[in-house]
């Protein structure tokens, strides 16, 4: 019986496994090798050694792209993390219409990325947009948002904070997983809300924060829709995210080998960063099971 189950398990999973090797792992390996060629879709690939990687170091767009990608990645993880955490804390209270509010806050996350970008294109318009109109009514200075080289990334970070629905749900789950008796213990010892928050909520939430930091950063660094739909990478390359630049090279300039080289470097950077975050985990992530450490 057990044997039968294993067989069926493997057989049913085989499509998924095959799919992974065919469509994910295979292309990754192929892309690594193509990074050392001059393949341009047309013509046959020639081995050119590390030529592509050398070119990268002289490529001003690549350098700028690296900077704006990280600027956006780190900024959006922090801003959407904080927004989501505050929203989760508020929605974790016993308030009326709780599920209604949860739905409202979650809604932006299910709006398709393209539709979302188009909405924000309107909100951001300096002349007719809602954001500047509100600022004008409040007699505050207005911004040029995505039409300004220095304001485009902060604008996109703001936009990503709006889409924190998924993170909020994860945080909510984390908050509800905190054992109630811990809070009671603090109360018995005469602790106030701040002590409960600082010494129970935050430490108990660190595994969730950790998960969110890793997944969120990987996701944010791969931002593509915003430059593709909203800014075309501008003004002056200020929103040319790395994945967008890879796409441009591969499918607009037909420089497939070069695009693969960028992908390889970018993969290594994300990998390194993820390892780094994992390495720092023991210093700030709290796991109950490791109490005796």
């Amino acid at each position: 019986m057990k044997k039968m189950e294993t067989r069926w398990g493997i057989m049913l999973a085989i499509l998924g496994i095959l799919g992974y090797f065919l469509w994910n792992f295979g292309p990754m390996v192929a892309s690594f090798f193509l990074a050392f060629t001059d393949w341009g879709i047309a013509g046959t690939p020639n081995f050119i050694g590390i030529e592509n990687f050398k070119e990268l170091f002289d490529d001003f767009i690549f350098k700028k792209s690296l900077w704006v990608t990280f600027y956006f990645g780190i900024g959006s993880v922090i801003s959407s993390g904080i927004t989501a955490f505050v929203a989760a804390l508020l929605l974790n209270q016993s308030i009326r219409f709780k599920s209604l509010f949860r739905t409202i806050f979650f809604l932006p996350a299910i709006v398709p990325a393209i539709a979302n970008s188009v909405i924000w294109l309107w909100l951001f318009n300096p002349t007719f947009g809602l954001l500047n109109s509100i600022l004008q009514i409040l007699k505050l200075p207005t911004f040029e948002w995505i039409y300004n080289e220095n304001q485009v990334i902060p604008s996109l970070i703001l936009m990503s904070a709006w889409q924190m629905g998924y993170i909020m749900v994860i945080f909510l789950a984390g908050l509800q997983g905190i054992p109630q008796q811990l809070y009671e213990a603090v109360s018995i010892d005469g602790g106030n809300w701040w002590h409960r928050f600082r010494y129970i909520t935050i430490p108990m939430m660190t595994p969730t924060f950790f998960f969110q930091t890793v997944m969120g950063l990987i996701g944010a660094l791969q931002g593509f829709v915003q430059p593709y739909v909203m800014t075309n990478g501008g003004p002056n390359y200020a929103s040319t995210f790395m994945v967008f630049y890879i796409y441009q090279n591969a499918f607009r300039y037909g420089k497939m080998g070069y695009a693969c080289a960028i992908s390889t470097i970018f993969f290594l950077i994300i990998l390194g960063l993820t390892i780094l975050i994992f390495k720092t985990a023991p210093f700030w992530v709290y796991y109950e099971a490791e109490k005796g450490r």
Binding site: A42, L121, T127, F128, Y147, N148, E149, A250
Partner: protein, 456 residues
């Protein structure tokens, strides 16, 4: 063991199904890829059907791919070793693929074929794609498209401003700016040359134009400048003539205040709606806009006019249009497929066949006689109900005499150069940097990309 038998049985069924679909293939099938809006998506398969009727034994699989995905999808087909037989090819990559041998040089086929419509000397010379020092060719664009000015006559009538001249030599820059100033009105009814005019609250803009190469080049050329020298090796975009040409455009926004800023433009509806709803009096755009404008004209919602571009120093406009490429791999060692592909290529490149796309305003024809022979002109624009009365002089004669190919027709690396120009010039169009410094940056950044021309 029994398990393995089960699996192999399943695989067997699969392979049977796969091989059946292989057997079912018709003797000569050609795959034709194209992009385009709903009109083209509808007309192209119809054209293919007509072709099939005239050419029994050939079936055409017309595959519509949205423009955004086009290069990616065709690239994937090409990389996978199964390219389409023939198809629309993006202007920016056509010659690169041709030079690498992926697209067929059709000059030998043209030479062999007696059909006059296919001869290069009978097609508009401004839309030819030559490579290998003009010894090879992809033919011409499948349709010609020039840059013109579309305008709403009712706005002119109401403001008491005379229509732009249809003779381009009379449409001076001074007259153009004066016209645009008179047509620009803010919400308080003030014009840009009056005190108290508010550029941020404009009711009707005199003129609108985008930030892209089909807008830049006519004005750079009209002022005597160019992107690079004739050999395509040295940038000249930061020379006085080119800079002043672009400056004239930027001045329309910030100095004369008759055009929307990029942000204002982003909030305007599409050009045809902006014209109809009187948000804009004139737009600098391609001939292809007539497809959408024409629908409004037919519905009686727009009194449309057309004019050539205004001139800075000399009369010139830009022309564009994608070619149809035949994929070498698809026809290699298969003469019967090549023959079928060539027949379909000829069919599509004869503007007579695609008359519907000419008459609905999307395309302009490519054989010279359409521009000179009154019979053909009548067939093209007579009683369509959408081509304005100025069309003959302001578009047809204008194209024949003054259309100049934009660099996609000859310059190497233009796709990348174009992106650099776009990024730098968007700062200038936003008023953040001077046109001169944007052009200096462009010249510096494109210098390593200037690797000559395909046709020299």
């Amino acid at each position: 063991m029994r398990f393995l038998i089960k699996i192999s049985f399943l695989l067997l069924i699969f392979s049977f199904l796969l091989s059946f679909s292989g057997i079912a293939q018709k003797p000569i099938e050609i795959v034709f890829t194209f992009w385009g809006g709903p009109e083209e998506a509808k007309v192209m398969p119809e054209v293919a059907k007509i072709f099939e009727k005239n050419n029994p034994g050939i079936t055409v699989k017309a595959m519509h791919i949205p423009w955004e995905d086009y290069i990616a999808k065709v690239s994937a087909m090409l990389a996978g070793g199964s390219p389409p037989t023939l198809g629309y090819t993006m202007e920016t990559i056509a010659l690169d693929w041709a030079e690498k041998g992926e697209l067929l040089d059709i000059l030998p086929l043209i030479r062999k074929d007696p059909d006059p419509a296919i001869k290069m000397e009978n097609r508009l010379p401004s839309i030819a794609f030559w490579f290998d020092k003009k010894r090879k060719t992809l033919g011409t664009s499948v349709a010609a498209e020039v840059m013109v000015i579309w305008y709403n006559k009712e706005i002119f009538d109401k403001a008491g401003v005379p229509y732009p001249p249809t003779d381009p030599t009379k449409w001076t820059w001074k007259k153009f700016v004066e016209t645009a100033t008179k047509l620009t009105v803010d919400v308080n009814g003030k014009h840009p040359n009056e005190p108290g005019f508010d550029h941020s609250k404009v009711q009707t803009f005199g003129v609108a134009f985008g930030n892209w190469y089909m807008v830049w080049f006519p004005f750079i050329w009209s002022n005597g400048g160019d992107l690079c020298d004739p050999t395509g090796m040295t940038p000249t975009i930061n020379k006085k003539e080119a800079v002043e040409g672009l400056q004239a455009l930027v001045d329309l926004i910030y100095k004369h205040k008759v055009a929307p800023t990029p942000a204002q433009l982003g909030a305007l509806p599409a050009y045809h709606i902006a014209l109809q709803t009187r948000r804009v009096a004139m737009v600098i755009d391609g001939q292809w806009s007539l497809l959408e404008l024409g629908r409004l004209v037919k519905a009686g919602q727009l009194k449309l006019g057309v004019a050539p571009l205004p001139i800075l120093k000399r009369v010139v406009t830009g022309v564009i249009g994608n070619p149809i490429g035949i994929y070498t791999k698809a026809v290699k060692d298969r003469p019967e497929v090549l023959d079928a592909a060539w027949k379909f290529y000829k069919f599509l490149n004869n503007s007579e066949t695609v008359l519907e796309l000419l008459r609905n305003g999307l395309w302009m024809p490519i054989q010279k006689w359409w521009y000179t022979d009154p019979e053909y002109i009548k067939k093209w624009i007579g009683d369509t109900g959408i081509h304005p009365p100025e069309y003959k002089e302001a578009v047809i004669d204008y194209t024949l005499k003054y259309a100049k190919p934009v660099p996609v027709y000859y310059l190497r690396n233009f796709d990348k150069i174009n992106d650099i120009m776009y990024q730098e010039l968007s700062s200038a169009f936003l008023g953040k940097v001077s046109v001169q410094s944007a052009c200096d940056e462009i010249a510096k950044k494109i210098a390593p990309l200037l690797k000559g021309r395909y046709d020299r």
